[in-house]
């Protein structure tokens, strides 16, 4: 399998947090001078359309992680109880070489790459995150899926003593998610272990989480303990909770509305006006071919 970097992630896209903040400061300093010379309208529009990384404090205080509460601010307040060491990830099922990985071995084994991805929640808000992680494909290649493997099922830690939200029945626990094998092997699909060059904050899914940038955020399961290759399409948590609202594929699609809200536009956190949502969250060039011939209205 040829694992390439997708064409939209250039090394110039990779920004360290310090460089990012230095740039903010520089821009802030220059703002007074620039403000005098009003920008022409197209330039302003372009400035709003681009994808600046969302500040670290936004990414770490606005989270959907129901294991720690249903309010966006709950996980940042409650996730301190999560113990991320020792941590084991079991890779099993339809593989020739099943293995239980220690998290630190995983981190040593697979060199971490920085990837700046758009992240679109099914609730119509979005952020841009500089993730650190490694392609899931690398891990899967090492455990050698059998010819029967067609899907990958993921499981979050179940530990009500550490995850207070699991003591309520807001969802069925543990949280489970799944991908088709080709989606899991896609070079954009990441196992993320950090952001902004720092270890993954607990509230963002420490110590290891999935990142599938062309799908709604709920597919990107957090705090993973089990990765199981299976023959049949596995159950997924939000689909169990409301199958008419959350499909298995959950590809970002502005043309297929959620039954309760429009998916045509989204609020990029930090921006006043909603911006149009892009098909496959803007990753169509890389991923659309996987869904050729599929009715995306039915397979939402």
């Amino acid at each position: 399998m040829l694992i390439r970097r997708p064409p939209d992630i250039r090394s110039s896209d990779i920004t360290s947090e310090s460089a990012y903040w230095n740039r903010r400061r520089f821009l802030a300093a220059g703002a007074g001078i620039v403000a005098a010379a009003a920008l022409p309208r197209p330039a302003r529009a372009a400035a709003r359309e681009d994808d600046k990384p969302t500040p670290y404090d936004v990414i770490t205080t606005y989270n959907n992680f129901y294991e720690f509460g249903t309010d966006k601010s709950d996980p940042s307040q409650n996730a301190g109880t999560l113990r991320t060491r020792p941590w084991a990830v079991s890779v099993e099922g339809e593989v020739l070489k099943p293995k239980v990985f220690d998290i630190d071995d995983l981190l040593k084994r697979y060199p971490v790459e920085e990837r700046i991805y758009r992240h679109r929640c099914v609730e119509a808000w979005s952020i841009v995150v500089p993730w650190d992680g490694f392609p899931l494909a690398k891990l899967l290649a090492d455990v050698q899926p059998t010819s029967h493997a067609a899907f990958v099922a993921f499981t979050t830690l179940y530990a009500p003593d550490q995850m207070p939200g699991q003591r309520s029945d807001v969802l069925s626990w543990p949280y489970v998610e799944g991908l088709r094998l080709d989606e899991a092997m896609h070079p954009l699909t990441l196992l993320s272990t950090g952001l902004y060059g720092k270890p993954m904050p607990n509230q963002d899914g420490a110590p290891i989480r999935l990142t599938v940038p062309w799908k709604y955020g709920f597919k990107s399961i957090k705090s993973i303990v089990k990765i199981r290759l299976v023959r049949e399409q596995p159950p997924t948590t939000w689909n169990i909770a409301a199958s008419d609202e959350y499909g298995f594929y959950a590809n970002v699609n502005p043309n297929v509305d959620h039954p309760r809200w429009s998916q045509a536009r989204e609020r990029r956190l930090g921006e006043f006006f909603r911006r149009p949502t892009l098909m496959f969250n803007g990753y169509g060039d890389q991923v659309a071919s996987m869904y050729a011939g599929m009715d995306l209205r039915r397979n939402f």
């Binding site: 249903t70 966006k72 601010s73 808000w125 409301a242 509305d257 039954p259 609020r267 956190l269």
Partner: protein, 221 residues
Amino acid sequence: MGRRRAGHALLIAAAAVPLLALALRAVHGDLGANPIETIEHTTGDWALRTLLAALAVTPLRRLTGWNGLIRYRRTVGLIAFSYVCLHFLIYVVVDQGFPFQGFAIRYIAKDIAKRPYVTVGFSAFVLLTPLAWTSTRGWIRRLGGARWNALHRLIYPAAALASLHYLWLVKGKQWTPVWYALGVVGLLAARLWRTAPLTPSRRLRSASRPDTASTAPPPAG
């Protein structure tokens, strides 16, 4: 007269506290990562809470026998409508961006027509509008007590729709909107079981008091 006016002033001041708290948070940049959502949800919460307060006046009056409470019912109702309007305006202007983005009207219209939780929330707003409009003494006189009362029972379906709006909005199994819905059901049910009905003589007495007669007719029940 002075005491009654002071009572209303106090009520309005109390109702403004959540708004002031929100403004203070905004000044301090303390509205979280999604300030628009925070403002939208907070005004929605208070719209529902003040609607429940308006619905609670009559049962509370029966329960306590404090008939003077009726004088504050209209004020509480208007406070509730103010929060409903604010919530709706924030949705239209701040959340959806209309009229800054003229095309946003299409999304708003589609939301109201196609998203059940928006449809019921908007319906509640529509049902409450004539109640606010006819809240003046002139309208009470023009409609007459019985017809005015009948019209103002629209707050019952409006409150039910408002709590449905919240129930249909949340994801997963969450209890907060269920408590609000039970509150509405309880306050509406309290009107079916008149544990302490007003005797004709008490009704007459309260109706003959000039302030009660002029500010509000006998309770709709």
